[in-house]
Symmetry: C2
Subunit: 140 residues, 2 copies
DNA sequence: TCACAAATGCAACAACGATGCATTTAAGAA
DNA sequence: TTCTTAAATGCATCGTTGTTGCATTTGTGA
C-alpha cells in the first residue's frame, strides 16, 4: 500500500535500472514530498551513507529521473523530472519558484514560453529562479 | 595611474564608505576583470584573510556596490552593480550568461523586458541564468 | 594627534561534495 | 534455487566554501 514506493519501483523498472535501497528511498521521498525536496530532508530521511546519497542523486540526475534546483543563498533541492527527460537530455520548460515565507520550492510551468535573445550569443539553456509568495501563503 | 584603484576609491568615497585594504583590492579586481570575477580569482588575488574576504564581499553586496552570480554546478562570481543599486535595494534588469567554452560570466542587459506571470503567486524577484557560447567563442 | 567604531587576522567549526578501495548486493544465467 | 558479475554501498579521508568569536589593528573625523 506504499504508493510512493510502488511509484519508485515502477519508475526504475521502466527505465531499466537496478532497484537499490538508496534509489527507492530517494525517489519515494521526493514523490511523497509534493514539492522539490531539500537536500537536508533527504539526509535526514534516507538511510544510507552520505557518499552513497550523493552518488545516487547524481546517478538519478544522469538518468533523467530527477533534477536539481538551487536557491539563494545556498540550498539544493531535488525534484522529479517529467517523462520528457532521459539520460540523453534534460529539457525543462519550467522555472523554480521559492516562497519567501514557507520556503517551499516548486516547479512551475509557464503558459507563454519565454524567449530570450542576446545578439551575438548562442544560448543553449536558460534557467529561471523566481522568489515571492506562494498561493497558500498569499491567502494568510 | 592605476585606473581601477582610482575607480574603487571614488566609488567608496561616493558612497561614504571606509577605504579599507580589502575593499579597494576587491573593487579594483572586479573592475579590472571586465566580467564577473570568480571567487577563486579573488582568493588568489586579494591579500587578506579568507574570513575578511567573505565579510567584505558581503558588506559590498549589502551596500549595493556589487552582486553575486551563481553558475552550475557550484561556482560563485561577483560583478559590479549599476548606479541604481543601493544598500536599500538591488535592482538588476539583467541576466547572467556563462559561456560553456571560455567559462566567462557576464551580465547581459535585455532590450525586451521579461514578464513572468504565475497564477496565484506574487513574484518579487526573478533571476535568470543562461548558458551558451559567447560572441568571442562563436567566432572561432 | 587622539579616540573610537569598524575592519582585520587568527582559530575553529560546520556543511557540502568528491574519491579510492574493500565489501556487499541486485539481477540475470545456469 | 544457486551462482556469477558488474554495480552499488560503506568507510575513511580530503578539499572547498562559508561562518563566527575574540583579540588586535586601522581608517576617519574631531
Amino acid at each position: 500500500m506504499n504508493e510512493a514506493l510502488n511509484f519508485a519501483k515502477e519508475l526504475l523498472k521502466l527505465r531499466g535500472l537496478k532497484q537499490t535501497s538508496s534509489r527507492l528511498q530517494i525517489l519515494s521521498a521526493i514523490k511523497e514530498y509534493n514539492a522539490a525536496i531539500p537536500y537536508s530532508e533527504l539526509q535526514d530521511t534516507v538511510i544510507a551513507d552520505r557518499s552513497t546519497l550523493y552518488r545516487t542523486l547524481n546517478t538519478l540526475i544522469d538518468e533523467g529521473l530527477i533534477h536539481k534546483a538551487k536557491t539563494e543563498p545556498n540550498d539544493t533541492y531535488y525534484a522529479m523530472c517529467g517523462h520528457e527527460c532521459s539520460s540523453n537530455s534534460h529539457s525543462h520548460q519550467h522555472l523554480h519558484f521559492q516562497c519567501t515565507i514557507c520556503k517551499r520550492v516548486t516547479c512551475e510551468y509557464l503558459q507563454d514560453e519565454i524567449k530570450i535573445r542576446l545578439p551575438n550569443h548562442q544560448i543553449s539553456s536558460v534557467e529561471i529562479n523566481a522568489q515571492g509568495v506562494c498561493k497558500l501563503c498569499v491567502a494568510v
